[in-house]
């Protein structure tokens, strides 16, 4: 029998060589003899006896070679080459919710051209539905979350829109009500919202700070970048209005980290410049970047050359992150920290995200969607808040999105983290939420490799830093 290599991705930190195990998400460091064994097998296929003989001939002791071979076998880095079907664990019949996203309004005072809710690629069908969520729906949603999540001790409610602050009175009511329920049942509940910051006032900022509501601000960067697509309906840019409000928010609100969420478009793709501006000019705690979700032919679409440039700059910024991490300091580039958190746990996803599983979105009409991005789309309703989640519909959605059915992913080493990518992105791009996001594959692999190298280097030089990622981040 000839030995074969198992599925792994090899990467280096600063000095050592590591393996990222594709079937488990495990990361191990190799010693010299293990590396030598793998390198021999990478060059050509060998029987176990020949492999041992050749490696011993290179000067390693028989005992060390045998031990190392056994360990590599146990890990799955070396196998008998017989393909073994790997299926992910079956979907649970019942999965308690952990968080709920309330689209408390589908109205917005901005008219960002690229918006997935209102832009050219929108999937929402809001006609004839309420524009603002009412108290009945909001209360029923909170009740549903607490009931479904009865076995959990920490829950989360996210407010989303539209522009969330256009329905601020409802938000306050929900926070009060949920806090009361949490106290009654002795569980913790957290809150967060996403806003375009145009409607922030001193009173609202005080409230958010006092009630420890996490805030994510959608912002695209410098004035020039922001005002290109993040505009009011009269075409006027929003930068000058939000700047003082955000500064006040960050100065006053200290109970939760304030994050910026940047949509990368053809008009705003200079990652380094954006990061520098948001971090140093605004003092955001974290900055997260995501390319706009769109059909490829839109004007604001970044396109492949643009994405290559983005990757280059991501890698530059990741180096900066590494330097901070080695000094034990926080760095705000959260695309890295989020990836490191998943790598540290060794997640191995059968689904790309928690949409429809631990998390659902509820629209103003009370319709339940797999996540906030599908809210108000009739084609993606998976229940109503008065009757609960339709398990059959949810099951169909999740079955479609599972890695098992995404055959393109089965030969990719980055699948434990990616699992085919965002359901919504896939729907906009391919008309099928269960389609693998093939337009990002090379990009995702490159980026994952970069993050693995950062992880490896931190594991060598400052492993204590990784303790930050020991607790799983509650979304």
């Amino acid at each position: 029998m000839n030995l074969a290599l198992g599925e792994f991705h090899r990467f280096r930190g600063n000095r050592e060589t590591f393996l990222y195990m594709v079937n488990s998400g495990g990361i191990v460091a190799l010693d010299e003899v293990s590396d030598a064994l793998l390198q021999k097998l990478e060059r050509r296929t060998l029987s176990g006896d020949d492999l041992i003989r050749e490696t011993v001939a290179d000067g390693y002791t028989t005992q060390a070679v045998m031990e190392s071979l056994r360990e590599l076998w146990q890990l799955g880095a070396i196998s008998d080459g017989v393909p073994k079907p790997v299926t992910s664990q079956p979907l649970p019949d019942d999965f308690p919710l952990q968080s709920i996203v309330l689209n408390i309004t589908n109205q917005c005072n901005l008219s960002c051209s690229y918006c997935y809710e209102f832009g050219e690629d929108k999937i929402a069908t809001p006609d004839g539905k309420p524009k603002f969520m009412d108290w009945h729906t909001a209360k029923a949603s909170v009740d549903y979350l607490f009931e479904s999540a009865s076995t959990r001790d920490a829950l989360h409610i996210t407010f989303f829109g539209g522009e969330t602050l256009m329905n601020f009175p409802l938000l306050q009511k929900v926070v009060d009500y949920a806090r009361g329920l949490a106290k009654e049942r002795n569980v913790r509940v957290g809150f967060s919202l996403t806003t375009n910051a145009t409607l922030l006032t001193t009173r609202i900022i005080e409230y958010l700070a006092d009630n420890e509501v996490g805030v994510t601000v959608s912002i695209d960067g410098t004035k020039e970048m922001q005002d290109k697509f993040r505009i009011f309906s009269n075409g006027k840019g929003s930068y000058d209005i939000i700047k003082p409000k955000i500064k006040e928010l960050i100065a006053r609100h200290r109970s939760r980290p304030i994050a910026a969420r940047v949509t990368l478009t053809s008009g705003a793709s200079d990652v380094l410049k954006i990061y520098d501006h948001l971090k140093n000019e605004f003092n955001f705690h974290e900055v997260a970047f995501a390319p706009v979700t769109t059909s490829p032919n839109r004007l604001y679409s970044i396109g492949e050359p643009g994405m290559d440039k983005v990757l280059e700059q991501f890698s530059e910024l990741a180096k900066d992150y590494l330097q901070s991490a080695l000094r034990g300091e926080h760095h705000g580039f959260s695309n890295v920290s989020d990836t490191l958190a998943e790598l540290h746990q060794g997640v191995n996803k059968s689904l790309p995200c928690g949409a429809g599983l631990g998390m659902v979105g509820v629209g103003p009409s009370g319709d339940i969607a797999p996540c906030h991005r599908f809210v108000d789309s009739d084609d993606h309703v998976i229940g109503h808040i008065d009757t609960g989640i339709d398990m059959e519909k949810r099951g169909e959605f999740l079955k479609k999105g599972r890695i098992d059915g995404k055959y393109d992913c089965h030969s990719c080493w980055a699948r434990p983290l990616c699992a085919g990518g965002c359901h919504h992105e896939a729907f906009v791009r391919y008309g099928d939420s269960g389609h693998a996001n093939l337009h990002y594959c090379d990009w995702i692999r490159e980026w994952t490799h970069t993050c693995l190298s950062v992880y490896g280097a931190i594991a060598e030089e400052n492993p204590a830093f990784l303790e930050h990622f020991s607790e799983r981040k509650a979304s």
């Binding site: 488990s24 998400g25 191995n348």
Partner: protein, 113 residues
């Protein structure tokens, strides 16, 4: 593991599980094999024993193994030491009344350690 160092949490769990798989049954056998080898558990759950079966004529005398074999199966090969008179800890002399098991097995009594 000596040659691979677990870095992330998943890898640590894999290593833990691997070592548990290796050591578990070996320890229950009360002796460390000279070299760790693939372990084939023996005993009632895996090995087919004739046990209390009878031959084609309804007799038990001519079976390839004595009917008492099931007692010995537990005593000699089973991984779980508490199913039989615990000859190591509580009843070391359990064979004194049972010199020839095929004849004396009725003398084996319930043991109250």
């Amino acid at each position: 593991m000596k040659h691979l160092r677990a870095i992330n949490r998943k890898a640590a769990r894999i290593v833990e599980q691997t070592s548990a798989e290796q050591n578990d049954i070996v320890a229950m056998q009360q002796q460390q094999p000279p070299q760790q080898q693939p372990h084939v558990p023996m005993g009632c759950s895996i090995v087919f024993s004739p046990g209390w079966e009878v031959d084609s004529a309804g007799g038990t005398a001519g079976l390839c193994q004595p009917v008492e074999r099931d007692i010995f199966d537990c005593y000699v090969t089973c991984f779980w030491p508490a199913q039989v008179p615990d000859h190591l800890n509580n009843y070391p002399d359990w064979t004194t009344k049972c010199a020839v098991a095929t004849k004396d097995w009725r003398n084996i009594d319930i043991v109250f350690p």
